[in-house]
């Protein structure tokens, strides 16, 4: 397959930028600008992606991720319409005959629409008119309506119901996007990367839905401001907090409870939100535990908080953070968790220029230990920490050009292991070297409205990566990979800050939208993404113990080129939204592992890794019903994901471990009356590939399963299907009563399907020479649930 060359795209971008500047110098004279924020009238939350347009036209602006809009018009008086689905549209008259105007717009929730379910948070034909493609969006209200495991609403699980997104099974950490690995998704919570998004090994995600404002998954056509992963960006924005009144919401479920409180700061200077969750598995299970397990701890918790402070009309600062942990202790100790912090400064530099500066901290760590009363035992902890600084600008130059540019730097400290054994009063240290790296990027992009029908978004991201000391550097023999680990030919100690290896990449981005008519558009996109850090995992499902490692002198950055084409068509006044997208992804430097790879406590982890190429391609069909008592969607993805790595599968192409050729989901949400909602989801997909043993190796008379012909992923697990249903009973609506509540009754895995998570092989317990195949099903039965949610 011929590789996609970014050079031709670069030339196109240069041409577009040059033409843009030449046109623009004439266009900006004698115009005036109206700018400000669009907010929810009830809570004061900024609305992301709200539209402000000139009445009767399609000319207008869309609020950025901070709720800011800027619209430049020729001098005159205008009728503007601000709209956001689920909210009453607001019409305003503005006088731009002599000067720029600053106007914050507040929209009220549409009470009539609230009684229905809203499955998008944008304007009704946004999917057709917006230049974005390959973007999966779900608003939090919709996510809360979808049946959930044990009634606990989950953002990551909801995303897996969208086209192009899949998982390897229940209880698996993370998700796969268009044939990419879980480490190829950059998950951002208020701009901070979250390295492990799972509670309880993947059954629940770490994001508290009550504290989340906006969720957006970029599968392709990724804007230049994002980078660092090869497959997708999941951008989660936290609520700012109600700046109108004290408010709260929460829920009590079978596994955990949650509470969120938000309130304005005095003198209208801002607001804050605090949201916490804690599981009580250990408390519930205590009566059933043996006496020696009574002190056991099995719980997880998280705390999400955010505050914002208005310095003046032009400047505002935000401080947000997340801290969560899973704790399992019972003779042994095992815990893991993420911590993030984001300090952000929004500044309106001019009516057209919006600036954001963010200082970000992110940490993921785990600790594992076991000891006896004599103090003998084993301890191991691991951590990845990064600090980053971002400076971004949105320049709303005129109605036809909206430019984004900025730069960022991320400093990584990888601490793969602090480990020791203690025995007989003697401690043996197995700690591994820390690793350090600096990732940096600069970007510029322009969204250009070429005509009423054609909109382009094009940009360039330049990224770099510096692998730094102090650490032990391994130089490996240069050989064609054959499945065996390469020999170390030299090692040396790099000094602190010493540059060991650097990489640079040009990452062009391009999207185009041609609107054929009011309800139909064609879209195309191309993007190149470079990924400099990698998750070493050789198992079907990722585990909390998997190790992040940087690109180095031995590990090359992963790269992905993706092209996508799509047709978007709405029917019946946007009641039905449909799309078909096809994509092809060309992947380089994909990670594979040598035979018998030893990924734990290995200072020379790089010698366990071999790299090759990959390809993923597919078609995604999406049909969504937006209005009426019955809403929901159908999503079907036909796709393949394959890899070719010398040393694996005899050097031939093989199915990637997350390859699922068919993936169908159906989501239905039916409003029975003003009190009762019913929802159901059905998922049907191909089983994931698996490598089964072919022959038996007898060693000391014991049978050992071997794959004698080295065929990787040579079989496939049985097809996966599952139905979940839930009923929601809402309390009587009474405008004078602030307290509102609902009961949610659910059945997860409603017909008790035992889906295969994996098939492995073992000796029969009674007849040790006999071998048998074992199917592991994570969910063995139907899981009923009941939960109570409230808000005030």
């Amino acid at each position: 397959m011929k590789r996609i060359r970014p050079d031709s795209f670069l030339k196109l971008f240069l041409l577009l930028f040059i033409s843009f500047f030449s046109i623009n110098q004439q266009a900006i004279a004698q115009n005036f600008t109206i700018s400000g924020f669009v907010r929810d009238a009830g809570t004061g939350e900024e609305l992301i992606g709200a539209n402000v347009i000139i009445s009767g036209t399609t000319n207008g602006a869309t609020t950025n991720v901070y709720g800011f809009y800027s619209l430049t018009l020729p001098a005159g008086s205008y009728q503007l319409v601000a709209s956001y689905l689920g909210y009453e549209a607001k019409e305003l008259t503005v006088d731009l005959s002599s000067q720029n105007q600053s106007l914050d717009i507040e929209l009220s929730e549409n009470a009539e629409m609230l009684s229905e379910v809203v499955v998008t948070d944008k304007k009704e034909d946004d999917n057709v008119t917006n230049v974005e493609m390959s973007v999966a969006k779900l608003d939090v209200n919709t996510i809360k309506k979808i049946p959930a495991l044990l009634g606990e609403v989950d953002i990551i699980k909801a995303i897996q119901l969208l086209p192009g997104v899949s998982t390897v099974g229940e209880g698996a950490t993370g998700f796969n996007v268009r044939g990419g690995g879980i480490d190829q998704n950059l998950v951002l919570l208020d701009e901070a990367p979250v390295y492990n998004q799972s509670h309880l090994f993947g059954f629940f995600s770490v994001f508290n839905p009550d504290a989340v404002k906006n969720v957006k998954l970029f599968k392709g056509g990724i804007p230049a401001e994002y980078g660092g992963r090869a497959s997708s960006i999941l951008d989660i924005r936290m609520k700012d907090g109600n700046n109108q009144r004290f408010a709260g919401q929460g829920g009590v479920g079978l596994i955990f409870s949650r509470l969120t409180l938000e309130a304005p700061l005095p003198k209208e200077k801002g607001s804050f939100v605090v949201a916490g969750r804690r599981s009580y598995i250990d408390i519930i299970s205590k009566p059933f535990l043996e006496e020696d397990l009574q002190d056991s701890k099995f719980n997880f918790y998280d705390l999400t908080l955010k505050a914002n402070y208005v310095i003046n009309d032009k400047n505002r600062i935000f401080l947000s953070g997340y801290f969560g942990r899973d704790v399992f202790e019972s003779g042994f100790g095992f815990n893991w968790g993420n911590g993030t912090g984001t300090l952000r400064w929004n500044s309106i530099l001019t009516d057209k220029l919006f600036m954001n500066v963010s200082a970000i901290y992110s940490n993921y760590d785990y600790a594992l230990g076991v000891s006896n009363d004599n103090g003998e035992g084993f301890d191991w902890d691991s951590q990845i920490v990064n600090y980053s600084l971002k400076n971004s600008y949105d320049w709303f130059l005129n109605n036809n050009h909206s430019i984004s540019f900025g730069f960022e730097g991320l400093y990584y400290n990888f601490k793969p292991a602090r480990a020791s054994f203690t025995s007989g009063g003697e401690t043996t240290d197995f700690s591994l070297d820390d690793k350090y790296a600096l990732e940096s990027a600069a970007y510029i992009s322009n969204e250009q409205k070429v005509s009423d029908k054609l909109t382009l978004q094009y940009g360039l991201r330049v990224s770099g990566f510096h692998y730094l000391g102090a650490t032990t550097v391994f130089e490996l023999e240069d050989k064609v990979p054959d499945g065996n680990r390469p020999e170390v030919i030299n090692t040396y100690e790099a000094k602190s800050g010493e540059l060991i290896k650097d990489y640079y990449n040009l990452e062009p981005r391009f999207s185009a939208n041609y609107v054929l008519n009011k309800s139909t558009s064609f879209k195309a996109s191309y993007n190149r993404l470079a990924q400099y850090i990698h998750l070493a995992s050789n198992t079907a499902a990722s585990s909390p113990l998997d190790i992040w490692l940087p690109s180095s002198n031995n590990i090359l950055p992963q790269k992905a080129d993706q092209v996508a084409l799509g047709v978007f068509k709405n029917f019946k006044d946007n009641m039905f939204e449909t799309s078909v997208e096809v994509y092809y992804k060309d992947l380089q430097n994909q990670l594979g592992y040598v035979r018998g790879a030893d990924l734990f406590l290995n200072n020379n982890l790089e010698s366990e890794i071999i790299q090759g190429i990959g390809r993923a391609y597919g078609a995604e069909l999406y049909i969504k019903k937006n209005k009426g008592a019955l809403t929901g969607w159908l999503s079907y993805t036909l796709s393949r994901s394959e890899q070719k790595i010398q040393g694996i599968n005899n050097g031939d192409w093989f199915n990637a471990k997350f390859d699922k050729p068919h993936n169908l989901t159906l989501v239905g949400i039916y409003s029975l009356n003003k009190y009762w909602d019913f929802s159901a989801t059905f998922t049907l997909s191909s089983g994931i590939p698996a490598t089964f043993p072919t022959h038996t190796l007898f060693l000391d008379d014991r049978p050992i399963p071997v794959n004698a012909l080295n065929e990787q992923n040579n079989q496939r697990l049985p097809a996966y299907h599952r139905m979940d249903i839930s009923f929601t009973k809402q309390s009587k609506k009474n405008d004078s009563r602030r307290w509102q509540s609902e009961w949610v009754f659910g059945l997860y895995n409603a017909y008790a399907r035992r889906n295969a998570f994996s098939v492995y092989f073992r000796q029969n317990e009674d007849r040790p020479l006999d071998r048998e195949a074992i199917q592991l099903s994570i969910l063995g039965t139907v899981l009923p649930s009941v939960s109570y949610n409230f808000k005030f």
Partner: protein, 287 residues
């Protein structure tokens, strides 16, 4: 090294919460046809009978008795050129029994194995590693957190050979039957621990520790084998494959093989490993 604590955690929580289940299933999948020989050829310098077994490797889920290879010619040649012929006894087992001293095995020069089965012929070379003597073998009640009441742990006491990189395979047998290695009872060690950073140390737990089920009067025998890196890697791979299960299983693969066939030879799996050995026997007396 393998980490089994995680599996413990996962299965405890999984079974507690979600009744995760494991079912024995009948699966039907195509396995390529053709003979693949299974050669299990581990020998050492002990002055007792040495055994090599050759079978036709069955498909993994074929539980019928494996077909023994009874017509093989097996020769072992030490570094000085002495040849030891292994003769077939029964069920594909070939033995060589010393008159007094065992096979001369060097830690510097390779020992060679030649196996001929009809038109197939295989050669392999391997070098042994050094091994320390075992000082003692002790039994005591197990106070480990997960240990069942009354459980016994047996520990052998030895010190890593100083000033060199050493690899060991440690095996314990009760009444001449090796302990089931499904649960980490078959151990590998690097310098008495798990990596090159150790040297000249007393073997650490869990390398030296074995869960023991024995009755008073039983003979407990410890074998410590000095092997080389290649053999260590082969055994690591086979141990991983044997214990591979659950949510975090790795893909099955073909472990390395140091047996090189001639042009017309059938496929082969297995290993020729040579070792220096130390043994220690003690009668169990803790009951």
């Amino acid at each position: 090294m393998r980490i089994s604590y995680y599996s413990i955690v996962y299965f405890f929580i999984g079974s507690l919460l979600f009744s995760s289940c494991e079912d024995v299933v009948d699966i039907d999948y195509n396995v390529p046809t053709g003979t693949i020989y299974n050669i299990d050829a581990f020998i050492n310098d002990g002055s007792f009978t040495q055994t090599i077994q050759i079978l036709e490797s069955p498909n993994f889920l074929d539980n019928s008795e494996p077909i023994p290879v009874e017509n093989a010619e097996i020769l072992v040649k030490d570094h000085l050129g002495n040849v030891y012929e292994f003769r077939h006894q029964t069920d594909g087992l070939y033995t060589w029994t010393p008159d007094s001293l065992g096979i001369l095995i060097s830690t510097q020069e390779p020992t060679e194995l030649t196996v001929t089965i009809g038109s197939s012929s295989y050669k392999a070379l391997n070098i042994a590693g050094n091994v320390p003597s075992i000082d003692s073998l002790t039994f005591e009640e197990d106070d480990f957190a997960f240990a069942e009441e009354g459980a016994v742990v047996a520990e052998f006491w030895a010190t890593d050979v100083a000033n060199e990189d050493n690899y060991y395979w440690a095996k314990m047998a009760v009444n001449h039957s090796y302990l089931d290695d499904t649960y980490d009872q078959n151990k590998l060690a690097h310098n008495g621990a798990y990596d090159e950073s150790s040297d000249d140390i007393q073997f650490i737990p869990p390398v030296r520790s074995y869960d023991l089920e024995a009755a008073n009067g039983d003979t407990v025998r410890m074998e410590l084998l000095g092997i080389n890196l290649d053999t260590y890697e082969f055994l690591s791979e086979t141990f991983e494959l044997r214990q591979n299960s659950g949510q975090f299983a790795v893909p099955y693969y073909n472990p390395r093989c140091n047996l090189i066939g001639n042009e017309n030879s059938a496929e082969v799996i297995g290993w020729f490993g040579v070792a220096r050995v130390s043994t220690f026997e003690r009668v169990y007396d803790l009951e």
